[in-house]
């Protein structure tokens, strides 16, 4: 940090200063040009976006007509990009309904049909074979994930193993909802935890907070062959997700809120899965919870899962 003596002599300050100033101006111009070049990929990325999308409000602040406009825009985007006509619906939670899920570990054979059905139903990225369900092959004699394996690749069921599919537990006291800094994920009236894919900033704090490895991040734009796109989509559930946002199991709300069963349940060849409204005394799920010895995962964390496991006698 030596000082330039010329700057202390006002009499002489014209000559050297102007040369120095000229050099600095050249440096600044070069610098700006370099920054513009370095950040150029951002303009390529922004070319795909529009102002409406950028300014879109949080789902729960949208008026009905604003929602409709967004759904139509998303449908048009899908048509333009994949050439597929899709229908984006937005079924609302029904009064007097609280969903719960139960899974019979005695009869699950670990075939992963549920995980596959999830992938197809929910328009998951095909490159990574993404699914909201991970099936663990567990050792008999305890429920110890430390000894479990989710990457098994051999015929099932193995005689000395049992199988444990894990997906979002739709916790009543959900750590992911608490973690989100911008309320991009919340619990709906019927107990389902959803994500507004157009609001999420992709910080992944919810993914760190989830004790059940239930959340997934779109590390890149999901790729699905046009002919495999499921056209029946829900705004808060299985529509094709944008790059850089979180997603998760929604108990197939676009189906279940309209009286159908989740895709994973329909795909199960052994009938291990039970789904329904626990507020309905006649429901099968209610019967299972009242009559079977059920348990939930990591009960000690106080998350109050809505996903129950049980064994037959």
């Amino acid at each position: 940090m030596t000082t330039n003596p010329a700057t202390h002599l006002p009499v002489l300050d014209n000559q050297p200063n102007s040369r120095r100033g000229f050099m600095k101006a050249c440096g600044a111009t070069l610098g700006l040009a370099a920054w513009a070049t370095a950040l150029k990929p951002l303009t390529e990325w922004a070319a795909d976006m529009n102002v409406d999308e950028f300014l879109q409000k949080h789902y729960r602040e949208l008026k009905p007509d604003e929602k409709q406009a967004i759904f139509r825009r998303l449908e048009a985007d899908c048509k333009a990009e994949h050439g597929v006509d899709v229908k984006i619906a937005d079924p609302q939670p029904n009064d007097g309904v609280q969903f719960a899920y139960a899974l019979n570990l005695s009869i699950c054979i670990g075939c992963r049909k549920c995980a596959e059905a999830c992938s197809i139903e929910n328009n998951h990225d095909r490159k990574t074979n993404n699914s909201y369900i991970r099936v663990f092959e567990m050792e008999m004699g305890g429920i110890d994930f430390e000894k479990g394996d989710a990457t098994y690749d051999h015929p099932v069921p193995q005689p000395d193993k049992f199988y444990m599919p894990v997906q979002c537990q739709q916790c009543e006291n959900a750590p992911c909802v608490k973690a989100c800094p911008i309320e991009a994920t919340w619990q709906e009236k019927d107990g389902i935890v959803v994500v507004d894919y157009n609001w999420c900033i992709g910080c992944r704090y919810c993914e760190a907070a989830c004790p059940y490895h239930a959340r997934r991040f779109n590390w890149e734009k999901p790729t699905i062959p046009a002919e495999e796109i499921n056209p029946n989509q829900g705004y808060l559930s299985n529509r094709i997700r944008p790059q850089g946002v979180m997603e998760k199991c929604t108990f197939c709300l676009h189906r279940t809120r309209e009286g159908r069963m989740p895709a994973c349940l329909e795909a199960c060849p052994t009938g291990a899965r039970v789904f329904g409204n626990i507020l309905d005394p006649q429901s099968e799920i209610r019967w299972v919870i009242e009559n079977k010895r059920t348990f939930v995962l990591k009960e000690e964390l106080g998350t109050k899962p809505r996903f129950y496991y049980f064994f037959d006698e």
Binding site: T7, H8, A34, W45, E146, A179, P181, R204
Partner: protein
């Protein structure tokens, strides 16, 4: 702290400019500051060019990451935070560590520290900028940044610890920018700073410095699903290690100023910092031992991450080299700091600083953030090592932080040496 006790009336008497003039000469101050900040030796230009080049590489890597997706990082759904958040954690500690100059200067009336304390505050400003950038580059959708802003976005406060972190980090930045800006401007004008304009903020900044690192620890230890982080010891450990890395970094900056300028001061402030480092590092290591004992002696599932970190498990051992390097660096640095030679102005002191900074960077980042994800919450072991893009971006953030710090320190030095004053016709 004589300046605080000076009555305001005495201060007014020394005023040569009206408040109006004071405000009006501010743009001129900025213009002259720009001149000083861009003037220097060839060494200075070389250093700034190097930093700019690294920052450009980082900016380009980030732009590509935003365009093509975070698939360019080596993070996954199993290890969903990586180098960025690791570096973020360290930088928050660096920012908090600056307070270890403020406390002796203002709480213990250390006159000499008082003359240098502004350098600690400049380090805090640069470090806060680096931590904020580390979070921004970790976002999948930086275009939606405005969702994080109170009122126009949706701010999940007080529930989300991340909102607390945003508040305390920005608050700390504003407080320090105000203190540094005000003191420098007053010194430039040759006026005695009005204590009412900055002393309350200095005391606020002491509490605030503690809060930024505590809240950052709460981000992790508040997650019940991650047993490795879920320990009450995390915030105290963060603070103890910050009070090593912060002062160590400041010692290096002080050395750089002494080597490149005519600014002289006695060895006392540095010795105070070294005493602080000695005690903080001892406390830090004690807490580490305490943590390890609880984990390994109990031997419960809580030890799974620690086992992976220190010894490897399920045939995976990616972090073992990192953590033992960190422990080696920390112990070596601590031993050096405890030698009498560290109190003298020599290279040994700088070596001790470098060892401890590197050790803590690993311990807090690769040694704390990453093992929280390994094994995963369902006990799957998926490993992580940063990708080239992640290294480029992180290096870019550091280069940017050092650019800011160099300019701040240059201005501080120029104003101290009276090369930057209203009568001095320094301009572009």
């Amino acid at each position: 702290m004589s300046s605080i006790n000076t009555p305001l009336t005495g201060e007014d008497a020394t005023k040569s400019m009206s408040t109006r003039e004071t405000i009006h000469s501010y743009p001129r101050f900025l213009w002259k500051a720009l001149g000083v900040a861009t003037d220097g030796s060839w060494l200075f230009y070389g250093w700034m060019t190097l930093l700019t080049a690294i920052a450009l590489v980082g900016a380009n890597a980030w732009a590509v990451q935003v365009r093509d997706g975070m698939v360019l990082t080596n993070m996954s759904d199993h290890v969903s935070w990586g180098l960025y958040i690791a570096n973020f954690t360290f930088c928050v500690g660096l920012a908090a560590g600056g307070v270890m100059m403020v406390i002796p200067a203002y709480l213990y009336d250390d006159e000499e520290m008082h003359h240098l304390v502004i350098i600690g505050e400049a380090v805090a400003i640069a470090a806060i900028l680096m931590s904020t950038l580390s979070v921004v580059v970790d976002l999948g959708r930086p275009d939606r940044f405005w969702h994080l802003m109170p009122i126009i976005g949706k701010f999940n406060w007080p529930m989300s610890m991340l909102t607390w972190d945003i508040i305390v980090l920005n608050g700390y930045l504003v407080i320090n920018v105000h203190i540094v800006g005000y003191l420098l401007y007053m010194q430039y004008l040759g006026k005695r700073p009005n204590p009412w304009w900055y002393v309350p903020f200095v005391f606020l900044s002491i509490l605030w410095a503690i809060s930024i690192h505590t809240v950052t620890a709460f981000l992790y230890c508040g997650l019940g699903g991650r047993p490795f982080w879920n320990t009450a010891l995390l915030a105290p450990r963060f603070l103890a290690s910050a009070f090593v890395s912060g002062p160590a970094f400041i010692l290096i900056v002080l050395r750089a100023i002494r080597m490149t300028s005519d600014w002289k001061w006695s060895p006392r402030p540095a010795r105070t910092l070294i005493q602080i480092i000695r005690i903080s590092m001892a406390i830090n290591l004690l807490m580490l031992v305490s943590e390890l004992f609880t984990l390994f002696y109990t031997g419960s599932g809580h030890a799974a991450s620690a086992k992976y970190l220190f010894f490897g498990s399920h045939g995976a051992s990616g972090l073992v080299v990192w953590i033992w390097t960190a422990i080696g660096l920390n112990i070596a640095g601590t031993i050096l700091f405890f030698t009498p030679a560290a109190l003298r102005r020599g290279n040994l002191r700088i070596l001790a600083c470098v060892l401890c900074i590197a050790g803590i960077w690993i311990e807090k980042g690769m040694g704390l953030v990453i093992p929280g994800f390994i094994p995963s919450t369902l006990h799957e072991v998926v490993e992580y090592a940063p990708s080239l893009v992640e290294w480029k971006i992180t290096a870019g953030i550091w280069a940017f932080g050092m650019l800011v710090l160099t300019i701040l320190v240059k201005l501080i030095e120029a104003i101290h040496a009276k090369r930057l004053s209203p009568s001095n016709s320094h301009a572009l």
